[in-house]
């Protein structure tokens, strides 16, 4: 990596913090002991990195690494660059070039003959690998906006995830990534929620629900032969179970047959962020097997961008599991309920102006763009678009797992400039998103840029607009 390059953002020099790794080793944590989670060992990391690079690169990656012509058309598609237009290191092409030059030097024979000519190079020790870590984890939210704006079809976001995966194998990762991966490996969910905690919180929500809707209302756990296996984000259990209650009210009103699984309920997947396909496979397989165990007829994923992408799409590939059941977002279910008249809503209960923020992982790496809009138009009196929107929307700043990496927060918020401008221009009071990451990402942007707005999810708005049948 070029040392000449100035990095006014300062992110590139963030040190490698291995305190949590050392502690995990000392405590003999199971994930570290059995080698599922790698820790950093100083020494021969460059050699290992090159070996992994050569072994893991796939054809789509290889062509993305070869095809770039350095035209720079991607620069303006990146929210980091828009906030720091004088800083070349903020362009997607510069970031991708940091792995591209290593690939050219060591895998692609055209860069081996005259490395200087093609700007090919080798990392100069662990310090360079740490810089690479700061580029791919700290200066990119893997939102894939540049991919969609590349004339050559170079998938820079894919390259970033790939590079993250190589560094994760060496323990050269931000502390937050290590901690969350550890918890997800060891407890099956990324917030280390125990089964007792899980069941108690569900019971609590169930009691509240029955107090409102009567004894017939339920939040079933591990009930076999249901239509829907409902899977959630651990933060819904740990810090914000309101969304579980919203979903339960709506399922109740629609007369749905549904259940949560006792194990395999975490639809989030830090493997997507760390680039660790093995973790990705482990977490998603838990969920697919839960559906099989309970003989559910479809898997429904609560509102979560990366969770949706991981569970709906990437997880099947990571885990080598052929998709057997329909796998969909709760928002698609809500849309169907509205279309089929299974729930009745009154948009008069959501009078504030509402805008919608498309999650990167759903709009650009998934397939749900119109569905949330169709729902919002039914449940809100004043729905208005943000511009740009859909596949051209800008990241909330919290994508790519950045919310778990505190050290990169100042740059992340600075890069939120364009997001703040987008939000402000809508003059909406509520910004709705179907992603837990986006809730916090947008919340940070709103706080940092002093915007008079609040973040809500689709479930909350639908639940508020829900007209319950008389007698319930």
């Amino acid at each position: 990596m070029s040392r000449r390059t100035k990095s006014p953002s300062g992110v590139i020099d963030a040190p490698l913090d291995v305190a949590a790794q050392a502690k995990a080793r000392e405590e003999g944590r199971p994930s570290v002991r059995d080698g599922r989670l790698k820790t950093y060992e100083p020494g021969a990391n460059v050699g290992r990195f090159l070996e992994l690079l050569g072994r893991r690169v796939s054809r789509p990656l290889a062509v993305s690494l070869t095809a770039c012509v350095h035209c720079g058309r991607c620069a303006e598609s990146c929210h980091y660059f828009l906030a720091r237009p004088d800083d070349p290191t903020m362009t997607p092409v510069w970031k991708a070039d940091q792995i591209r030059k290593i690939f050219k030097r060591h895998v692609d024979w055209t860069g081996r003959v005259a490395p200087w000519w093609a700007k090919a190079g080798t990392p100069d020790g662990d310090e360079d690998l740490n810089r690479l870590k700061n580029v791919v984890f700290g200066a990119c939210s893997a939102c894939r906006r540049c991919t969609f704006n590349c004339p050559m079809g170079v998938d820079t976001a894919l390259l970033v995830r790939f590079t993250r995966g190589l560094l994760t194998e060496l323990g050269i990762v931000p502390e937050g990534v290590f901690n969350v991966s550890r918890d997800q490996w060891e407890t099956g969910n990324q917030m280390a929620v125990t089964e007792t905690d899980f069941l108690e919180t569900i019971e609590w929500m169930r009691d509240d629900l029955r107090a409102e809707l009567g004894p017939g209302a339920d939040i079933p756990v591990d009930r076999p032969d249901c239509d829907i296996l409902y899977t959630i984000n651990p933060r819904e259990i740990k810090f914000d179970p309101r969304s579980i209650a919203h979903a339960a009210r709506i399922f109740h009103a629609a007369g749905a047959s549904w259940t949560l699984p006792k194990w395999g309920w975490d639809q989030t997947n830090f493997g997507l962020f760390s680039g660790d396909d093995a973790l990705g496979a482990y977490v998603s397989r838990n969920l697919y097997e839960a559906a099989e165990r309970l003989r559910a007829r479809r898997i429904v994923i609560s509102e979560c961008g990366h969770g949706y992408r991981s569970t709906r799409w990437e997880g099947y590939t990571w885990s080598g599991y052929d998709q057997k059941l329909p796998t969909e977002s709760i928002v698609a279910v809500l849309r169907r309920y509205l279309e089929e008249g299974r729930i009745v809503v009154d948009p008069g209960r959501n009078l504030e102006p509402v805008t919608f923020h498309d999650s990167c992982n759903i709009a650009r790496s998934g397939d749900l763009v119109e569905e949330p809009r169709q729902v919002l138009r039914r449940v809100c009196a004043d729905f208005r678009e943000m511009h740009p929107n859909r596949q051209e929307n800008f990241c909330c700043t919290g994508g790519g797992g950045l919310l778990a990496m505190a050290e990169y927060r100042p740059l992340r918020l600075e890069a939120g400039k364009v997001k703040a401008e987008q939000l402000k221009a809508t003059e909406a009071a509520l910004v709705c998103t179907m992603c837990h990451n986006c809730i916090d990402g947008l919340g940070d942007v709103i706080k940092h840029y002093h915007l008079p707005m609040r973040v809500v999810q689709v479930l909350e708005l639908v639940s508020r607009a829900l007209v319950l049948p008389a007698g319930s």
Binding site: N179, Q190, M191, D197, R235, K238, A404, A406, R409, D440
Partner: protein, 106 residues
Amino acid sequence: MPIIESEGLRIEVNEEGFLAHPEEWTEEMAKVLAKAEEGLDELTPEHWAVVRFIRGYYAEKSLAPMVRKMCQATGFPLMKIYDLFPSGPAKGACKVAGLPKPDGCV
């Protein structure tokens, strides 16, 4: 790391505004954090009930309690926690109580 200076206190916090050294937490710091991070001018007895519970739980288990536990211990309904701490249990209450940033998507 950033420093918050107020009321004669110099508080070192991380980039997310969580205490850099959770063990150094004092009630005076809680007031400063509540003002700086949550915009709360005053901590009512209800705020203190939540904060003291979180503090005690953390001292015992080195872990942020689930919101379920906060409600059980204080007897507050869920919505009350959000009324008291606008940023919610994790980024609001736990921060004022001087806990390190909880891991994961928060």
